[in-house]
Each structure stands twice: as C-alpha cells, then as structure tokens.
C-alpha cells in the first residue's frame, strides 16, 4: 500500500493526460484503477484536492454581516429611503452575501463529492475528476475573495492618489533611480489607461536625475492599488556615472498619499487662521503695476505638524498655491490615518506584523535581472518588463495577497479575542 501511495502523483498525472487525449490507453486504465483502489488515503494526501478552508471565526462574521443585510432589506421593504452611507454599505453587503452563498453551495457540493468518492465505487473516478477540475479551484477562488471582502475596506480605498518620490542614499545614482521609478509609475498608469500628471519635478542641476517629483494619478481607487508601493526601493546596478564598473547600491523613497478632493476637505478639514503660513515669492518694492515678476513659487507650512510643501512649476502663483494645498491635504490625511493605526495597534495586546511601514520594501537588481519584494519574498525575473510598467502588477498582486493574509489573520485574532 505504501508503494502505491508514493506513486500517486505519477498516476494522477497520467490520468490527467487521458482527459486531454480524449482516449484511454490500456496501461493508463490499469494505472487509474490501481490508484482508485486506495483512494481513501489519497483524498487527504493529494495536493490538488487540498484547499485552505476559511477560518470559523470569519464564517461567523460573514453570517453576522448577512443578518445585517437582512435588516437593511427589511428596512427597504418598508419603503424607507437609505442614506448615502447606508446604500454604500448595502451594496457592499449584498455583494458579500452573494459570494458567501456561492461559497456555501460550493462547500456542500464538495462534501457530497467527497462522500461519493468514499462510498460509491462506481462514481468514484468521475467524482474525483469533478473535484479536481472544478470544485476545488472554484473554492480556492471563493475563499480568497471572501477573505478580502470580509476585511474592512481601506479608509481611502476609492481615492485617487499622489506619489511622492525622493532619492535616498547613493548620491547621483539615487537621483537617476528616482527618475527611473517616476518613469515606471508613469508607464504603469499608461498601461492601465489612467490619467496622470507630473505635478512637480525638480531636476538635479547637472540635468541627470531628480531631486524630487510628485505624480498625481487621477483614477479613483488607484490609491488602493498603489498604497503598498510606499517605502524604500533599493537598486543594485552599475551606475551610468561609474567608470570602473563597480556595482552600487542606492535607494529611493516612495510615499503614496490619497488625493483628497476639495469637497472632502470642506467637510472634513478646515484650517485655522494660524495653522498655515503661506510664503509667496514677492515682487520687491512697490509691487502692483511697478513690477512685472515671473516669480511664482509658493511654500506652505502647516504649523501644527511642521509639514512643508513648496511648488514652483506653474507660471501662476494661484495655481501653485492650489497644488501645494492639495498635496498638503493629502499628506495630512495620510499622516492622520497612520497615527490612528498606530494608536489602534498600541491598544491591541498582540503585535501584528504589517506591510505599512517596513523600510526597504523592494530590491531592483539589474545584474541578475531580478526584482525581489522583501515583504512577501516574491521575485520577478524581468527588470525591463517591470520598469516598463507591464509586469509591475505581478509584484503588486503578490504583495497584496500577503497583506490580505496578514490582515485576515489579525481580524481572526480580533474576532476570537472578542468572543
């Protein structure tokens, strides 16, 4: 029996090829039968039939949310009108419950099939095929989807975003890398057909590399996609400026901020008269008709937090001011969010690992044509594809999956502690 179990994957492979070929050779049929004889063991051993079931605490949570949905539905059937927030919640809950129902059906399906495999000899092979080909992959998909839906959505998940790029250690090479990163995100936006704008860009006086840059992506929800790009990006390569062919290591920092719209800020944030100091390039002397200056740089200091934003790219002082205010608002929003998270975290007893603030998140190694994300350990061997924005999604998916996993773990912990 042991021998057969060890051979299992081979048999399984051959039975797969059967399906593709459409006919069964005698040898394969025997192999197949041989496998099925001891299949009670192999159900639990077979990798293809395994899937990570959802945690009972999460299922409980899903049920709870479903009853909330029923309450809302009752409310609706009484002819009452939902408020904007409630209707948002309603649509979220109903899509969640749809997935949950589907998951329930699929789980029942799975249980029936397993029973068939265990008890009914005549239908065993068909049931196994069905399990492997459709039920299990479908379940895997539904479980991951359910997990993401059960997590509370990110506070700014529907916002457009602002990316701030700054060179770190490594002198000129770091500035050149900053420029490369800006290009990467610009092309990423192009690939996704998102509208974007380089809000501000300061080139180094030598004309190569960037001292800082701000990129705005106007697509709603782009913040949610890009927020995990925040952190220190490290590059290992032979710089253009290097004459002796040595490999250097340099870094650039990326900060992703939610872009707050004017309407939000009116309701959420009002600056006191003493909160802001706005420094504008002034015409010297009498001003007015006496001078015609082209100086339009604006610097805004938010005094309570000490955040300074300066913008000089536009010819109009007014526009520079508007841009600087936009960046300031976004920075404040992000800062407050991080403070809230920090507070929640210190309130909690258990330490939760998070991808939010870890530094050195990713390494771009040009010599090995490799990009490694240190948070999830994912490695992509295609520097060019990544820098052209086309393969960046692969890395981002991996990071996102890791984040979802971490968050659902902490949610489970929370739910269990709450019991």
């Amino acid at each position: 029996m042991n021998v057969i179990v060890r051979l299992n994957p081979v048999f399984w492979l051959s039975s797969r090829s059967l399906v593709v070929n459409g006919g069964r050779s005698l040898k394969n049929v025997f192999a197949f039968r041989g496998y099925l004889k001891y299949s009670t063991i192999s159900i639990h051993e077979n990798e293809n039939l395994k899937f990570e079931n959802i945690h009972p605490a999460l299922i409980k949570r899903a049920k709870q949310l479903k009853t909330e949905l029923l309450d809302l539905e009752k409310y609706l059937s009484e002819g009452k009108v939902l408020k904007a927030e409630e209707s948002k919640k309603f649509s979220q809950l109903s899509s969640l419950s749809r997935i949950y129902d589907e998951y329930g059906n699929e789980i029942n399906n799975y249980k029936e099939l397993i029973q068939l495999v265990e008890n009914d000899d005549s239908l065993k092979d068909d049931a196994l095929l069905e399990l492997e080909k459709s039920t299990v992959p479908r379940l895997k998909y539904l479980v991951s989807k359910l997990k993401t839906r059960l997590l509370p959505p990110h506070e700014f998940h529907d916002k457009p975003c602002i990316l701030e790029l700054r060179p770190g250690v490594g002198g000129n090479e770091a500035m050149i890398f900053t420029q490369d990163l800006l290009g990467m995100y610009e092309r990423y936006a192009q690939v996704h057909k998102w509208s974007y704008e380089v809000l501000s860009k300061n080139e180094h006086s030598s004309g190569i590399g960037l001292v800082d840059a701000v990129l705005v992506i106007n697509e709603p929800g782009s913040y949610n996609r890009l927020r995990l790009e925040s952190g220190v990006h490290r590059v290992q390569r032979i710089p253009e400026t290097e004459t002796k062919g040595r490999t250097h290591t340099s870094t650039a920092a990326v900060v992703v901020l939610p872009k707050m719209s004017e309407i939000d800020s009116n309701s959420e944030r009002k600056f006191g008269p003493d909160d802001l100091r706005i420094d504008v390039m002034r015409a010297s002397g009498k001003g007015g008709q006496h001078v015609n200056t082209t100086e339009s740089a604006v610097r805004i200091t938010h005094i309570p937090t000490g955040i300074v934003v300066s913008i000089q790219d536009e010819r109009s002082q007014h526009k520079n001011k508007a841009k600087a205010m936009m960046i300031l608002r976004s920075r404040l929003a992000e800062r407050e969010r991080l403070e809230r998270i920090e507070k929640e975290r210190s309130d909690r007893t258990s330490q939760v690992s998070s991808t939010d603030r870890s530094d050195k998140i990713r390494t771009y190694n040009y010599a090995q044509n490799r990009i490694t994300d240190h948070r999830c350990g994912f490695t992509l061997y295609d520097i060019e594809g990544c820098m052209s924005g086309e393969k960046l999604d692969d890395i981002m998916d991996a990071v996102e999956a890791k984040e979802t996993e971490d968050r659902s773990k902490s949610l489970i912990e929370e739910l269990e502690n709450g019991k």
């Binding site: 008709q289 015609n292 790219d313």
Partner: protein
Amino acid sequence: MPRISPRLILEAYKIHPYLPYLLPACKTIFQAKLELGWIINELPVSKHKSAIKKRFRLYPLQYILGNQPFGSNLKIECKKGVLIPRADTEEWCMELCKKLRKIKNPNDSLKVLEICSGSGCISLLIGEQLKDYLAELDILGVDVSQICVDLSQKNLELNHKYINSNKTLINFIKGDLFNKDLLSSLPIQNHELVISNPPYIPLEEYNVYHGGLEKSVIKYEPRLALVGNLEVYKSLLDNFVFNNKSCKSFIFEVGNKKQIEFVRDYILFKKFSWNVGYRIDSNGQYRNVVGWQRDCNYDLLQKMCTSIYN
C-alpha cells in the same frame, strides 16, 4: 540692477547654454531655470533662440509666450500695448469674488462696470467665478485703447469654455474715463459695482532710479496703462460712482497711501452716506481703496479691508 558675477554666468552655462541669457531678467539660476523650462515647453523649437534673445533684453516673458494664467483656469493673452495682468490684481479679484458670493443671493442679478479693463482679466475672472452662482450677471469693460478692447474681446472668446453661461453677459467697449458723458452712452447704466485698475504711477515715479519701477516695465509696457494719479480717481468717482444712483460700491487698485486718502476725502466731501476702507495686500503694500453705501449688503466689503475710515 546688481551686476551678475562671471561665476554665476559660468555656472548657468554649464547647466544649459541658453541659461546665462536669462540671468539679467531672472537674477537667480533657480528662476532662470524655471523660465527656460516654460519657454521650452510652450514655444516651438524654432522660436527658442529668438525668445531667449528677447528675454535677455528684459522683454516681458508674458509677451514672449503670448499669455499669462489668471485665476484657476483663465489664460489671458498678452501682447505689446496692453498691461500684463499682475499677481497682486489676481489676489484681490479672487477675494472680491468670494465676498460677492456672500453679498449676493443666487437669485439676484449683478451689473458690474469695469473702467480701464486692459486685457480684460478682471472682468473675465469675475465672470468665471460667478457665472453659475447668480441668476443674471452683466459685466461691461471700458478701455480707452482700441488695442485693449480688441484683445479683451479676443480673450473673451479664447476663454469661452470657462465663462460660457446663458446667465452671464460680458462685453468690452472703447471709452475714455475722463469723458463726463460716457456713462449715458454706455449700454449698461444701473450698475451696482465699479471696479478699476487704473493707471496709478505718478509721473515723477515713472523712472527706474527713484520710482521703484522695473526696467522691463518702463521699457516695454504701455505708458498709457501706467501713468496717472489723483485726477484718475476723481474722474472715476465723478463719472461712474456719484452720477449714478444705483451704484452702491466701488473697488479700485491703488499705488500708494496718498491715493487712498484722496478718495476718502473726496467721498467725505461729496457724500455722507458712504464708507471708505483700504486694503493692504499680502506683500504689505497699499493696494486697494474700497467704498460702499452704508446700510446695504455691500457692508460686507468691509471684510476685505485692512482698516475702515469713519
């Protein structure tokens, strides 16, 4: 003008061969780089060299590029013979528009008369800011120069998409502010608000050495739009404020405190029911004189003022 050191020129040359030519106008490498960036971005390659040469002779950048942004959306075309819109003017115009939104209810109508409209920037900005707020907005700009009237008409068309509204009407007409009978010949008579950025540089200040005037302004911008003093304010008040009963307020740009005091004294002498205040801009200069009839909504204009005379 301070001398530009050879070292600065060399440093600029290393960054870009055109950059040293911008130093006389810009004075710092930082500003010169910005200007070079704008020239390269906005003009075709064939015009770069001539633009740099013009700027070297302090020719205003706005004339070279052909426009100046004003407010959040407008782009005002600029050409020789018309005063270039200033950031100081933009500042008080935006403030005024905010106040007008408080003074007026959405169902109200508003008629505004602008004297010395020049490029038309003030009228256009008010039109843009208030176009959908008021039930009816009627703005008339008057300027003595035909070049200005033509250019402001053109600016109206160029910025059509920002101003376009069936509730808003903006027009520009040729007319002389010193003409006593001008008001009766205008298509708009019962205006409530008079705005003006008149020529306010006294003749004795119209030179570089003790007037504080920029060389580029004196060399290339129209004298007609710059030189004027108390007689201008007297005519503005006589011809457009006092001889019209519907007029409830005015706001003028000024160049010094004397002009504010003149307006105050003239009002006190002629009309008792008016209040006068002045506004100091964010640069710390006397910039506006504001007047309004007591006991009407335009009292709110006092919030624009740094100080009010009683």
